[in-house]
């Protein structure tokens, strides 16, 4: 039976393909636009001959040394002037996509999201009753709106310009009035106003100019400015306007206009006439308006295309730059002088740095990186504005099926604007999203015919049925009447009329959503949360595969390319986490030459080549003994023993601070096949994606500790390091070197005790391996300052504190508050390259990089969640003897509130949990594909019950499935030893630890900085801000009678500037602190007065 398609495209294919087309064709296409002639000097460019040099640094080097992973684009250019010369010129350094489909700029991985925008073309809309308008969207240039309003006037509207009567505009273009009436065919309403009364084209032109002068008088006083762009220029001049081939095709298709060629990229007068003609048709209800949310009217730009358009801008800038140079340079005219790589480089850097589509890669776990690369945004340049986006843009459209996931989108203001591709979605050459279908003919699925990709405009007229309908083994549809999708509606159709069937149940889902088992039983809102939260799961120290999965875990793991892969076949002759040596025997004479790299390298050691009989050698001897032991008698061929050494990084770090210690999956002496993984990295177990842990869950309220989504946890999980994750923090400090004062790295820092300096080496830099806590010094630095004459007050203060006047200011790098860990890496970077000898350290040191690593145990306040959007915060960690326990003595691991299920409608968690229970007792794992209803009625429920029944019988635990309360069990209260009153749902669920850890969020403030304008304490952790004491908080303090606290908060801690400044001195001098009356305090007084309390100020 053909259940799941064997075909499954690589999940990163979209991005990779797009970038490849940019490299193959895009660069060429853009370079062709470079055309420079000035003052009889001509430059000839050969776009077909461009070359990309190999990147100078490898990916890892780029990450370590904060460089951009790019390659040089060189091209031969010929200069024809008084002398003829030809030379290879580097145009730019193009950032290159790595094999993981991200870019590395300035040492940090970046992802370019795809953008979905409205396709160029003409679209008709209805505004109100009887008012219609058409939008003409261009690839480059202004949007044009042709509108028919309430008074039946036809207008042309452009942004920032007053509207122009459209028909007058046409007359100004040279169409006579009579012709116009003839061409439009339909009666023109309000003829007098619309058509005007012009005798000649000139008259009309003057009229239009009058309108446009209005514009220029508003915008600029220079009426006779030469650079003035007329309204005609805006749409007729290819300099300012470009429809694009797709826009031209769309317009021609819309008007059935065969005559216009595709090359014509601007609007013609015929287009205008046809547009008005069509508008009238709509007005008279002959044609229908367009649906802009339909995917056929939307276009997707993926990384390659986005870069290409930016590259095009760069080329234009280069052209201008070169022209300037050509004009300026008189003598010494050389190609190398004329060209520079900066214009394109800066435009590309601008794109990667500023464009909202280029984002810091989300590297919390592998799934997050994968979905980030498959994300689709309608925001950005040329897209929608997040604040003005309407509901219709954000909502789901029937054409999204199989193309864009209807579920996965962020919550909040970006909801519906940022989406992600469905599993099988592809992009065709027009930029439309396609999805695969099987063809159906006469009620039979034609598997043999293969897969048909359909885009939204192609599927308009065909009947499409979903995959999860009943069908026979060989592919006959069982039922006569089938619910099918046609023209965005759901209709019952006879099976002979069905044209297509989708290829999988998961077709419409995105990657993260398809990982949720039993997701069809959940409310969509919770599935959304579940798929978003899976992306936030922290990689754990020990990973564990899920008991109940959907079967996509392996696919995701292999498509990621996250793990290091073995370069050739061979035997592993040496194995450690630092270095792996693979020995193999090659017949070829080619020598391998890999580039050397300090951290992750492949080097080749050439051994003596020997001739021996291939049939007789013993591989074991070859590996364990030295090369001399090979004793081969017969000459056959030259064979080379090759050793490939692979150096492994200590750990992988990520943008988000999560980190994984590598783990080997091999053994020494093992044979490894080419491209098999050497190391398993983050969140993977047995070649599967593994984000969380399987825990014993009980849905029971426990003394109110799991009220309102709080969660009670077993202490054993903490002790056994089940939810321990490794985190990495990077610190970087620059040693400033100005002419006047340069910083000194030193160990002698005054006023700091010996204990605090214990971990510093003799130069004042922290030692590797030392434990550090908040406020410990990492790098001791001093900045010399000019000695000033002290004010007498300051002198006095120094006298009191017995402090000497410093010549240095302490600018040491310290560990931030609430951070702790171990120093694992210290790197010294010189002005030019790295320093290797320690003696050189103090000279020419530029920056110091420090890595701080830490294991974070799970603790109260951490956020954990299941896969079904059932999230919560840990409120209590119980000892093992206090947890409720099952019939066979197993204590529960985690207690969830049963009230979290009914109102959220995520029943999937209950099903997963019960199937997990039978998994635990049967020692099996299940892969459940969502939407299993095609296999029968209530299949998921029956499947779970049957499995529980099996585990009942097979393991002899006959309490697992009780006939009176199936799916529930009696569990015991550990305090009394008695069973709880009601049977309780228990089971095993897959629980994730999310990245929102308390340790990063904990923050407190006693004093700190104040806002300059309002003189109130700042907000937020990064600014060391305070907690807002709002209205209700004030009530609480009032109710509690905490008068002094209230007084302090509302005066000194708020906007009482004068007394705030005096507080320190008055404490030092042990005087009484004087408070003023501030505005906030006055509000309090008024509030109390309004409660009829007679409160007044007395002197």
């Amino acid at each position: 039976m053909y259940i799941t398609p064997l075909f499954f495209p690589n999940l990163l294919k979209l991005q990779r393909k797009s970038f490849l087309t940019f490299l193959k064709y895009g660069i060429k296409k853009e370079i062709k636009k470079l055309d420079i002639t000035k003052n009889k000097k001509k430059l000839l460019v050969y776009p077909n001959l461009f070359q990309l040099n190999l990147p100078t640094y490898t990916c890892n080097e780029c990450v370590i040394t904060s460089k951009t992973y790019n390659c040089e684009l060189v091209i031969p250019i010929r200069l024809i002037s008084y002398k003829d010369e030809i030379e290879w010129i580097t145009l730019t350094n193009i950032p290159i996509m790595t094999n993981k489909c991200n870019f590395i700029t300035n040492g940090s991985p970046r992802v370019i999201m795809s953008q979905i925008t409205r396709a160029p073309g003409i679209y008709y809309h209805k505004e109100n009753e009887n008012t219609y308008y058409a939008d003409i969207i261009a690839e480059r240039g202004n949007w044009l709106r042709i509108e028919i309003d309430k008074k039946n006037n036809i207008w042309m509207k452009v942004k920032k310009v007053p509207k122009v009567p459209a028909l007058m505009f046409l007359q100004a273009l040279g169409v006579t009035k009579s012709n116009l009436i003839k061409l439009l065919k339909y009666p023109i309403p309000n003829q007098n106003h619309n058509l005007g009364n012009f005798k000649s084209q000139k008259e009309a032109l003057e009229k239009i100019e009058l309108y446009s002068q209005l514009e220029s008088s508003i915008n600029s006083r220079n009426l006779k400015n030469q650079n003035k762009i007329t309204i005609f220029d805006r749409f007729m001049n290819p300099k300012y306007y470009d429809l694009g081939t797709r826009g031209r095709i769309q317009i021609n298709k819309k008007f059935n206009n065969i005559e216009e060629t595709i090359q014509h990229s601007t609007l013609t007068s015929k287009d205008f006439i046809l547009a008005v003609h069509f508008l009238l048709k709509i007005k008279y209800k002959i044609e229908e308006t367009d649906d802009i949310d339909n995917l056929k009217n939307k276009r997707v730009k993926i990384a390659g295309e986005l870069i290409q358009s930016q590259f095009g801008i760069g080329i234009l800038r280069l052209q201008k730059y070169v022209k300037d140079k050509l004009g300026n340079i008189k003598n010494n005219l050389h190609l190398t002088n004329i060209f520079s790589s900066t214009p394109i480089n800066t435009t590309l850097a601008e794109f990667f740095g500023v464009n909202p589509l280029s984002q810091f890669m989300d590297e919390v776990n592998p799934l997050a990186t994968l979905t980030h690369k498959r994300r689709l945004s309608s925001l950005g340049i040329g897209g929608v504005n997040r604040d003005t986006a309407t509901l219709t843009i954000r909502s789901i459209h029937p054409t999204l099926y199989g193309r864009i996931c209807p579920i996965e989108t962020p919550e909040g203001k970006n909801a519906g604007l940022v989406n992600s591709f469905a599993l099988f979605a592809e992009i065709n050459s027009e930029g439309l999203i396609e999805t695969p279908f099987f063809r159906v003919c006469n009620g039979r699925i034609l598997y043999e015919m293969g897969i048909n990709y359909l885009s939204a405009n192609q599927e308009d007229k065909s009947n499409i049925v979903p995959f999860d309908i009943k069908k026979s083994r060989i592919g006959f549809l069982s039922k006569n009447k089938i619910a099918a999708r046609i023209k965005q509606q759901f209709k019952e159709v006879s099976k002979k009329k069905v044209d297509f069937i989708s290829i999988s149940q998961l077709q419409m889902l995105s990657v993260a959503t398809s990982l949720i088992p039993f997701m069809e039983h959940n409310d969509a809102n919770r599935v959304l949360m579940g798929s978003n939260m899976q992306r936030q799961a922290v990689p754990l120290l020990k990973t564990e595969c899920c008991l109940v999965g959907t079967g996509l875990e392996t696919k995701i793991f292999f498509d990621l390319q996250d793990n290091v892969k073995s370069p050739p076949n061979g035997f592993i002759s040496y194995l450690s986490l630092k270095k792996i040596t693979i020995s193999n025997i090659r017949n070829e004479h080619k020598s391998f030459n890999f580039k050397s790299n300090p951290l992750e390298t492949i080097t080749c050691i050439k051994s003596k080549s020997r001739n021996f009989n291939r049939l007789k050698y013993n591989l074991k001897d070859l590996l364990t003994n030295s090369k001399e032991s090979l004793k081969i008698t017969n000459y056959m061929s030259y064979v080379r023993e090759q050793k490939i050494q692979y150096y492994i990084k200590q750990y992988n770090s990520s943008n988000q601070g999560t980190c994984s210690v590598n783990r080997l999956t091999l053994n020494e002496g093992q044979f490894i096949i080419k491209k098999n993984p050497l190391i398993s990295g983050l969140s993977s177990c047995r070649n599967e994606l593994a984000l969380g842990k399987n825990l014993f869950v009980g849905y029971i309220s426990w003394k109110g500790y799991n009220f309102e989504d709080a969660i009670v946890l077993n202490e054993q999980l903490v002790i056994n390091n089940i939810y321990t994750s490794t985190h990495l923090e990077k610190f970087e400090t620059e040693i400033k070197k100005n002419k006047e004062n340069s910083e000194i790295i030193t160990r002698d820092i005054k006023n700091i005790s010996f204990l605090n300096k214990k971990n510093l080496d003799k130069n004042g830099i922290i030692k590797i391996g030392s434990r550090v806590f908040s406020d410990d010094i990492l790098v001791g630095k001093l900045l010399p300052i000019e000695t000033r004459i002290l004010s007498p007050y300051r002198k006095l203060l120094y006298e009191i504190l017995q402090k000497q006047n410093d010549h240095y200011r302490n600018t040491s790098l310290r560990v931030p508050k609430y951070k702790r860990g171990r120093i694992t890496f210290v790197d010294y970077i010189k002005d030019k390259g790295k320093i290797k000898k320690k003696t050189e350290i103090l000279k020419d040191l530029k920056t110091i990089k420090i890595h701080l690593m830490q294991n974070r145990l799970i603790q109260i306040g951490d956020k954990i969640s299941g896969r079904h959007g059932n999230k919560g915060v840990i409120s209590k960690i119980l000892k093992i003897q206090e947890m409720p326990y099952l019939n066979d003595g197993i204590p529960l691991d985690i207690l969830l509130n049963p009230l979290g299920v009914p109102s959220r409608m995520n029943i999937g968690q209950v099903l997963e949990c019960l199937l997990g229970l039978s998994c635990f007792y049967l020692q099996r794992r299940f892969k459940v594909i969502p939407f299993d209803e095609s296999f029968g009625f209530e299949v998921s429920r029956n499947f779970i019950y049957s499995n529980l029944y099996f585990s009942n019988i097979k393991t002899g635990n006959n309490w697992l499935l009780h006939p009176y309360y199936p799916g529930k069990n009696r569990i015991f209260d550990s305090y009394s030893g008695l069973p709880f009153d009601q049977p309780i749902t228990i089971g095993k669920a897959y629980i994730l630890k999310l990245i929102h850890l308390v340790e990063e969020k904990v923050h407190a403030r006693s004093t700190g900085s104040y806002s300059l304008v309002t003189q109130q304490p700042l907000k937020g952790k990064s600014k060391k801000g305070g907690q807002r004491v709002g209205e209700m908080e004030v009530w609480a303090l009032e109710g509690y009678g905490a008068a002094y606290t209230l007084h302090e908060i509302l005066t000194v801690k708020s906007d009482d500037i004068k007394s705030r400044q005096k507080v320190l001195t008055s404490i030092l001098n042990s005087e009484t602190i004087k408070f003023g009356t501030t505005e906030t305090f006055k509000v309090l007084i008024r509030e109390l007065q309004s409660l009829c309390l007679n409160i007044q100020f007395f002197k």
């Binding site: 120290l541 002759s573 040496y574 194995l575 450690s576 986490l577 630092k578 270095k579 364990t624 200590q650 750990y651 210690v661 590598n662 783990r663 080997l664 053994n667 020494e668 903490v718 002790i719 056994n720 390091n721 321990t724 490794t726 006023n751 005790s753 010996f754 204990l755 590797i768 391996g769 434990r771 806590f773 009191i800 504190l801 017995q802 402090k803 702790r820 860990g821 171990r822 120093i823 694992t824 690593m853 830490q854 294991n855 974070r856 145990l857 000892k879 093992i880 003897q881 326990y885 019939n887 066979d888 003595g889 197993i890 204590p891 550990s974 305090y975 009394s976 030893g977 008695l978 030092l1068």
Partner: protein, 358 residues
């Protein structure tokens, strides 16, 4: 009531680190069985009599995240493997004392628990327990610290929380040991306990008995674990058992008042005794004499020092005279940046309180 029976019904080794036994305890009166079975279960689960590795020094590893030459595992994985090792004490093993174990192996080899050189009184339960794999010509050298029942000297004295393999809190114990890698210990050797009631529901006498199932990690047999926990319970209750109450007899109404008074005085002595015991147990270091006690009450504010030196002292957690008294003069001068002058003044003022700084 008939005699109580404690018998092992079933006992088997399920794997080398899983020892299962089932016991019959009873018969009890109906409600009592419930009470005792629950108490037994809870006490057994909270048992922590195992001896485990608490700190490790690995040659070549400065921190948990470093890689070792020739070793297949990272040192973090190595620590996790060491954490899972199970050891047994014998009767000569001293309580509250740390032992040291060593390991040195040359590759190529798969290192197992049997390769560890243990002290004479400690044995490995499962000699095949995996530790690491090392490659050709490389060696792995470890020094391990084994501690039994850290609870008494670790949890109570210090503000210690189970807080990671890193163990952030630089406390005295950690600083003294010189071990670079510290493991959160799991002292419990009981994996799972299940208790159920067997009711012999004859019509006339309804007796219940407990069926107790215990799974341990083989460092102790379940039988010994049960005996131990019963012993500790009995010890606890005996220590608070007041013998003087036996004398009070209500029938002797004449002597009632007199008896009561006697018993009261007895109780006073009893409380004195037991409280003293508790105090000595908990605070072996601090508060030994009444003299010290007085010092603890006096804050250093009363010394009338300059603000700066007061600030310095307080920063280093020296809050009372007792704290000050404990600290060596040289330490104060060298590490805490206290000048010689202020030291002298402190000394002068300390004399007033009848103490002299060392």
């Amino acid at each position: 009531m008939e005699n109580k029976l404690f018998s092992c019904i079933e006992s088997r080794l399920r794997g080398k680190r899983n020892y299962y036994s089932r016991f019959y305890i009873g018969p009890f009166l109906k409600n009592q069985a419930f009470l005792y079975s629950n108490v037994l279960r809870r006490v057994l689960l909270s048992d922590s009599s195992n001896i485990v590795i608490t700190a490790v020094n690995i040659v070549g590893a400065k921190h948990e995240y470093s890689l070792l030459p020739g070793v297949r595992e990272s040192s973090l994985d190595l620590l996790l493997n060491l954490k899972e090792l199970v050891f047994v004490k014998d009767i000569y093993t001293k309580f509250n004392k740390s032992y040291f174990a060593y390991l040195k192996s040359n590759g190529p080899k798969i290192i197992r628990c049997s390769d560890i050189i243990l002290p004479n009184t400690i044995y490995a339960v499962d000699s095949t327990q995996y530790i690491a794999t090392i490659s050709n010509n490389k060696s792995l050298i470890l020094k391990m610290k084994l501690t039994a029942n850290l609870l008494n000297n670790f949890y109570s004295n210090l503000n210690y929380e189970l807080n990671s393999l890193l163990s952030y809190y630089t406390n005295d114990i950690l600083e003294k040991t010189n071990f670079s890698l510290i493991i959160d210990p799991n002292f419990s050797c009981v994996n799972k306990v299940n208790s159920s009631l067997i009711s012999l529901d004859n019509l006339e006498n309804y007796n219940d008995s407990i069926s107790l199932e215990v799974w341990t990690n083989s460092s102790y047999s379940p039988r010994i674990i049960i005996q131990n926990s019963i012993k500790s319970m009995v010890n606890l209750f005996l220590s608070i058992y007041d013998t003087s109450f036996i004398d009070i007899k209500l029938e002797n109404s004449d002597n009632f008042l007199e008896n009561h008074l006697v018993s009261l005085s007895n109780r006073a002595t009893f409380f004195k005794k037991s409280f003293f015991n508790i105090c000595t147990e908990f605070n072996t270091v601090k508060y030994k004499t009444s003299f010290d006690k007085n010092l603890t009450l006096i804050s250093i504010d009363e010394l009338d020092l300059s603000i700066y030196s007061k600030f310095l002292l307080k920063r280093h957690n020296i809050l009372t005279l007792y704290d000050l008294f404990k600290i060596d003069k040289r330490v104060l001068e060298r590490f805490y940046n206290i000048s010689y002058k202020t030291l002298q003044s402190i000394e002068r003022k300390m004399v007033k309180y009848g103490t002299v700084n060392k």
